[in-house]
């Protein structure tokens, strides 16, 4: 992308339409009748050749002059290569060199090497800046401070080495904020896979310092080694060493995978780990004799890719539309109506329910086993499933349980927060077992799940494990509250989060903003009203998801119609936050020693100014001027020579 240093000089572009207007006036020639034009035709070379050629040649002069003016105006605007910022910045680069960065990606390159390459690109793109580099490890260290020499900064960056520690993001960002506050135009760039990243204690609200997050590494393998350490065994003396490692599953489902540990090429340990959702397992191994690199390998087989799709900004506004799909809908209809703020629609008896699947609802309430099983075919993403069938999301039923008392949850259930659950009991419920796919589970007495929620980024399934009509559950008071809370959760889900994260596949629902879209393209502008990306929406329907472009800076962004002027209202806005802590699989091949000493900086070769295209444009303008002159005088030369 080209950036212009003197954009105000674009006012001179007015000369182009003026030139065209003058040319039009010139074309409005005075018509004079003459006895014969045969002699003129012999003289004027413009009148030779085909009519198409005549038309083209008659405009060549205008074309040349317009190009000349365009080149001149372009030179006045002083364009430069995109990224080569003319602005002197205070850059602080946080380079992650923790254990997870040892992961070798598909191309064979480790994440650490990729991160350093990206950091080097940022360095090269900001030649006028002073650079500080922070090594991120358990104790963040300053690798370079206030370096203004590009080569020296690059050398110090390349000297940053891999460690086997865990990161301390909070300390690193505190240090970075402190360093950044010293100079003008401060920016903090973090290069990491953000495996253990947490925004707690880190200011992600864009203020004076802008934060850029450069995510490296794949996002589909979410099982990894979160801890790794080799220490001398205190019990057996220095001859033995303890190898400590922790494998963690960051997925929302249970996975099994083989783990093997080798020491100096010899196999030390091999086993199959089965980890529940977000569970972890640690091992301590002993090795004798020491020496040789320790290698921990995780071989993946059938692990499912993470559903990392988020969406937001799709709320219709005040009223949620709810569909009740049941043979006996009156109970649910009454309970939903009592909840208030909901537009309830009921599937009439005898009407095929499949025709409702493509219609837009915010919530579907159903006790129909067949429809619950087909929930993936609905356009609506939020379900309240009453008595879901055996096998739904891993649910398995057992015997009937009578007089099930409700146990108060030890952790919050958002959708039942305002319900007094302590006094509630259910007359009869089947014993149910659920897999880890369900996040929030409210148990009855004897460990019988009564409410479960499968929460995903863009949808939710609320499962009610009993039939409220067959129990003595206090229906008239509790169920409207339940539905009201579910509606609140759905409303939050579909309307509130216009907040996305760097590194995620961020998608925005088009439904709400679709009427405001004019033209085939949207422009993404940051808080400084700078165009940062363009999105083609010509092929999207109102029900589609709008994929947001990959952005690296946190802060507020706005979407504008590309055809609209600068003062137009935005179509939508969203916030981009720091990456979510998604831990990824790693294969540490070696544990390096302490960091090497940084090599001495070479001779200063720091570029003092940005690479401007203005001289090239001025040369082009001069060339065009010469061509123009040659063209205007060509006929005279040619004809004169012919007569001679």
């Amino acid at each position: 992308m080209i950036e212009f240093q003197s954009l105000a000089n674009s006012i001179f572009a007015v000369s182009v339409p003026v030139l065209v207007a003058l040319y039009m006036l010139k074309l409005n020639r005075k018509t004079v009748k003459v006895p014969n034009v045969a002699f003129l035709k012999m003289i004027v070379s413009e009148n030779r050749g085909s009519s198409l050629f005549k038309r083209l040649t008659s405009n060549i002069l205008l074309l040349l002059e317009v190009l000349f003016l365009a080149a001149l105006v372009g030179a006045l605007m002083n364009p430069g290569r995109a990224g080569l910022s003319v602005v002197g910045k205070r850059l602080v680069l946080i380079v992650d060199n923790t254990i997870t960065m040892t992961t070798a990606e598909a191309g064979g390159e480790t994440r650490f090497e990729t991160a350093k390459k990206e950091a080097l690109e940022v360095l090269a793109a900001n030649p006028n800046s002073s650079v500080s580099i922070i090594e991120l490890s358990n104790y963040p260290r300053l690798a370079a401070n206030n370096e203004t020499d590009f080569r020296a900064a690059a050398a110090k960056l390349s000297a940053v080495s891999q460690t086997h520690f865990r990161p301390d993001w909070r300390f690193a960002f505190s240090l970075a904020e402190g360093l950044a506050s010293e100079g003008q135009n401060p920016e903090i760039h973090a290069f990491s896979d953000f495996s253990s990243f947490s925004v707690a204690g880190i200011s992600t609200v864009p203020g004076k310092v802008r934060h850029f997050y450069h995510v490296t590494g794949a996002k589909t393998r979410n099982v990894g080694i979160s801890e790794f350490d080799i220490t001398a065994d205190p019990e057996t003396g220095s001859a033995a060493q303890e190898i400590f490692f922790t494998v963690k599953n960051y997925d929302d489902y249970e996975v099994s995978f083989p783990v093997s540990v080798t020491s100096g090429g010899a196999k030390l340990y091999s086993s199959v780990f089965t980890l529940s959702a977000r569970g972890s397992e640690s091992k301590v191994l002993k090795r004798f004799g020491g020496g040789g690199a320790v290698r921990i390998e995780i071989a993946f087989g059938d692990s499912m890719p993470q559903d990392n799709v988020r969406s937001g900004s799709a709320g219709e506004g005040d009223r949620l539309s709810v569909l009740v799909s049941s043979e006996r809908p009156y109970f649910y209809d009454a309970a939903l109506s009592a909840a208030g703020g909901l537009a309830v629609e009921t599937v009439p008896p005898g009407v095929p329910r499949s025709i409702y699947r493509n219609r837009e609802f915010d919530l579907v309430v159903t006790d129909d086993s067949a429809e619950i099983a087909e929930s993936s075919k609905y356009r609506c993403a939020n379900f309240v499933a009453i008595c879901p069938p055996d096998g739904f999301m891993g649910i398995k039923y057992g015997e009937w349980d009578y007089d099930v008392t409700f146990r108060a949850p030890s952790f919050p259930y958002e959708y039942m927060r305002s319900m007094d659950l302590s006094d509630i009991y259910v007359y009869r419920a089947r014993r149910a077992l659920a897999t880890g796919s369900f996040g929030e589970i409210a148990f009855g007495s004897g460990g019988v799940p009564l409410f479960m929620r499968l929460a995903r980024f863009d949808s939710s399934v609320f499962a009610v494990m009993f039939d409220p009509r067959q129990s003595n559950f206090p229906l008239k008071t509790a169920f409207p509250i339940f539905f009201s809370n579910v509606a609140g959760a759905v409303r939050n889900l579909v309307s509130a989060p216009e907040i996305f994260n760097i590194g995620s596949d961020n998608r925005m629902r088009l439904r709400r903003i679709y009427p405001a879209i004019r033209g085939p393209k949207l422009v993404v502008r940051d808080d400084g009203s700078r165009d940062v990306a363009e999105i083609d929406v010509s092929s999207l329907k109102s029900t589609d998801l709008l994929r947001l472009p990959p952005l690296t800076a946190t802060g507020r962004y706005r979407l504008f119609n590309a055809s609209a002027g600068p003062s137009a209202r935005p179509v939508a806005e969203f916030y981009l936050n720091a990456p979510v802590g998604a831990v990824l699989s790693i294969k540490p091949g070696r544990v390096p020693g302490p960091a090497r000493t940084a090599p001495a900086a070479s001779a200063p070769a720091f570029e003092a100014s940005h690479v401007s295209f203005a001289p090239v444009l001025i040369l082009a303008a001069l060339l065009l001027l010469l061509l123009d002159w040659i063209y205007q005088n060509f006929k005279v030369f040619f004809r004169g020579g012919g007569d001679a």
Partner: protein
């Protein structure tokens, strides 16, 4: 008042007589020498008398001197065919102080009048892209016929020497003298190519009527020049150089016509519009070697 009613014009016109070098081929009596023998006033030669011949033409002097009877044989004077080809194309409307067409008509009138005074047969043919009309002009109706020509403006048609001359040659096969009164300019500039064909059929004289517009253009400004005959346009930014080159082109063209005429035994006379036609005709005659100064 018509121009021919002007006493001064008549006076000038009467001083010109047409004498043809070529032998007349007409059938009727005229003032031109012909290849025919018969009645006349100029004795051509003597011949032996044969019985029955008219004794009034016996040359008694020769008869007595030589002892035989000789009869005088007279050479006859016959009429000659004068064809006047008058250009009526749209380009003839230009000119100042009078149009080329007016000058051409006056010149044609003078030519016709002079020819008729010498007892010749005059055919006035008008052409543009085709032969518009061709009519015999006599001494009694010359004024009327030229009045009709004057009253009808030039046709808004292009010039086609190829077609109009072709039609003329097909219609008038008797050899005579052709006066082409025209600006000699058509779209393909093909007048020169027609002259050899004309030289085969007739004696000819080209009277090229010219106007300032033929050779002078503005030296500066943006113009769209429209051809008065074809409507074709040429857009050009005029410069002194282009104006000069235009004038040179026209001059070169006129010189080319002139050289071609002389090469094929014809005559050429350039006549700026507004010229005195009587004087011009005298010049034409002298230039062509067939004029005779009268009593002026």
């Amino acid at each position: 008042m018509r121009f021919w009613e002007d006493p001064e014009f008549r006076k000038k016109l009467d001083t010109v007589r047409l004498i043809m070098k070529n032998r007349a081929r007409g059938l009727r009596f005229g003032e031109n020498r012909s290849r025919y023998f018969g009645r006349g006033i100029e004795v051509s030669h003597l011949k032996n008398y044969a019985e029955g011949e008219d004794v009034r033409f016996i040359d008694w002097n020769s008869s007595f001197r030589l002892g035989r009877i000789f009869l005088k044989v007279f050479s006859e004077t016959r009429e000659n065919f004068i064809y006047i080809l008058l250009d009526r194309s749209a380009s003839m409307e230009f000119g100042s102080p009078e149009t080329k067409f007016t000058t051409a008509v006056k010149t044609a009138y003078c030519l016709a009048h002079t020819a008729l005074s010498g007892f010749n047969r005059v055919v006035l043919a008008e052409f543009s892209d085709t032969l518009i009309s061709a009519r015999t002009v006599g001494r009694t109706d010359i004024n009327g016929k030229f009045a009709a020509v004057m009253d009808s403006p030039p046709a808004a048609r292009p010039t086609s020497f190829e077609r109009s001359f072709g039609e003329f040659f097909a219609k008038f096969r008797r050899r005579g003298v052709v006066f082409v009164v025209s600006d000699m300019v058509d779209a393909p500039l093909s007048a020169i190519e027609r002259l050899p064909r004309m030289a085969l059929a007739h004696n000819f004289c080209v009277v090229q009527v010219s106007s300032p517009e033929d050779s002078a253009l503005p030296e500066s400004g943006e113009f769209k020049f429209e051809d008065s005959e074809t409507g074709e346009t040429v857009e050009i930014s005029m410069t002194p150089d282009i104006a000069r080159r235009f004038a040179e082109s026209y001059s070169a063209f006129s010189t080319g016509v002139s050289k071609k005429c002389l090469r094929y035994g014809g005559h050429y006379f350039r006549l700026p519009c507004g010229s005195d036609p009587a004087v011009a005709v005298r010049g034409i005659m002298l230039g062509a070697g067939m004029g005779l100064a009268g009593n002026d």
